[in-house]
Amino acid sequence: MKIAVCMKQVPAVSEGNMDPETGVLLRAGLEAIVNVYDLSALEAALKIKDSRGASVHVFTMGPAKAENVLREAFAMGADEGWLICDKAFAGADVLATSYTLMQSIRAAGDYDLILCGKQTTDGDTAQVSGGLARWMNLPHVNWTTEIMDISDADMKVRYSMENRMVTASVSLPCLVSVEKDSFVPRMPSLKLKISGKKKEIHVLTMEDLEDKDKEHYGLSGSATRVRKIFPPPRTKQQEPVTLGGAGAAEYILSQLGHANLS
């Protein structure tokens, strides 16, 4: 069985990374980390590898330094790493990102299962995996909490929907996005980390893909444009009321009562 896992490198955001005057995101100097949600996708793949044997390939699209994502994945137990890296891929939105991932996974081979994280911590759309499934013409299981009874032909999955848990039988190949807390990532192993350092990384550029039309990738292939980035509007900081226990309780009740009337 061959499993593809999609993992993204994201900036380790903290506060103050945005210029409050211009609203420009100060990406420079930001530490880059693996999107935490994707570690759970990798864990789900490694669980299958542990139980029935599988070759786990990790795909990451990003700048050259996204190679670190692959090294980290090797240290957890991934077998192969694919770095999807080309200037032409930059600035991609959900549509273009999922298209590029589809082209890359196809160029790398046939996979029985594709695993994604639930969302990223930067773009945070949680929509790339659904788009990728559609480009690949595959069924997609969202919010997966359990992968059971996996065979070469199909598997049983459990996933969340609003107010309900659904169990379904899905045939392979298919795409699964996993819930973070259901697949707690294992610790990297020192031994694998060391051997992973020497592992060859497969680099995919546009030349390696079937579709070589530049217009389909990156910013030109994107349907959306970020027109403006700005700090979140804030309710003007009000001076907090300081009234002591009883006074504060009265104040809160009057606000609740007031709101209740409207």
Partner: protein, 337 residues
């Protein structure tokens, strides 16, 4: 991206999610928003629903200013390929310029499939929508866990897909007398690749995402036992107790009760935070709350930047007083919220 002949696409289509014959509340919220945008555009609003037992859908949408309502009778439980095909078929027929979808489990599964099917743009989890001078939809959404707001346009392809989380938009309130034209169809689509075996309802009405009022406990709560006092407050108000991640990490509260980036997004009418500092990750999950009352002893706590009613003080002094007063009121004719 597929460049569209923009002029061929007009009107706004709302995906009305329904299950067991009941419309999800986000449907009326989206129609309300669609109507506001449609007036600006001089365009019509349409709605589409799929599922089984759709007889009462139109009556649940009375008062909504809809031009047409499309009802597709099919399996009630969402599966990706069947639902995509149905809704894509409707879009193909209608050619709407904008498609609004609820940011629910179902909506967020469906939206990217549709966007790719039409090779058009999708903006996820919009918190506000506007129309620009050229008639494009300006979609405003948070990113980086709420650190940044982005305004996004889909200028050259149609439809413009957007998802909006429940509780973000005002539900339609205008009572329209217009009776929509109802188009009903039976769909015989099955997907051999995806078979639903079992659907198990989790307790509904219980989740913190469905509450009108939440009391939220943060690290300012010193002992696990002290949570009982906050739970009592939430019950007196007819709501539930939720928490920041700090208390989930301590094992005092469950992840299902956690608000925030890695927990639940909530948008109750009222929230009282007790000893929560207001980190970005926390605020990413509660910004849409209508009335935020924040209790914190630190006058410079960040939670005060978004609180509508900031209260500086010791939660151990304030909460017992609140409980006492609520109990007294309950004795009179206080009916809860």
């Amino acid at each position: 991206m597929r460049k569209s002949n923009i002029g061929e696409w007009s009107g706004i289509l709302v995906y009305v999610e329904c299950r067991k014959g009941k419309v999800h509340p986000v449907g009326r919220e989206l129609i309300g928003e669609a109507w506001r945008l449609a007036e600006e555009l001089g365009a019509a609003v349409y709605a589409v629903a799929a599922g089984s037992g759709l007889d009462d859908i139109s009556s649940q949408l009375t008062g909504c200013p809809l031009e047409k309502l499309y009802l597709y009778e099919t399996d009630d439980e969402y599966t990706p390929i069947v639902y995509e095909n149905i809704i894509a078929g409707c879009i193909e027929k209608l050619k709407p310029s904008i498609v609004l979808i609820g940011g629910t489990y179902e909506g967020r599964a469906l939206a990217p499939r549709l966007a790719v099917a039409f090779e058009s743009g999708l903006t996820a989890d919009c918190t506000s929508l506007e129309i620009d001078t050229e008639g494009n939809l300006i979609q405003i959404r948070p990113a980086f866990g709420g650190n940044v707001m982005a305004s996004i346009v889909t200028a050259h392809s149609r439809p413009q897909f957007a998802t909006v989380r429940p509780g973000v938009m005002e539900p339609v309130f205008e009572e329209s007398l217009r009776e929509p034209v109802i188009v009903r169809e039976m769909v015989n689509l099955t997907d051999e690749r995806f078979k639903v075996l079992e659907v198990k309802e989790t307790e509904s009405g219980d989740s913190i995402t469905e509450q009108n009022i939440l009391v939220v406990a943060g690290r300012g709560v010193r002992k696990k036992e002290d949570l009982e006092m906050l739970r009592e407050l939430s019950e007196l108000l007819g709501g539930k107790l939720a928490s920041s991640r700090a208390l989930v990490e301590k094992g005092w509260m469950s992840p299902r009760e956690q608000i925030g980036l890695s927990g639940n997004a909530v948008s109750p009418q009222y929230m009282i935070t007790c000893g929560v500092s207001g980190t970005v990750q926390f605020m990413a999950g509660m910004k849409q709350t209508k009335n935020i009352i924040a209790i914190n002893e630190d006058p410079s706590a960040r939670i005060f930047e978004i609180a509508h009613y900031p209260v500086c003080g010791d939660l151990y002094g304030i909460v017992p007083e609140l409980i006492e007063r609520l109990k007294m009121q309950k004795g009179d004719d206080f009916t809860g919220i």
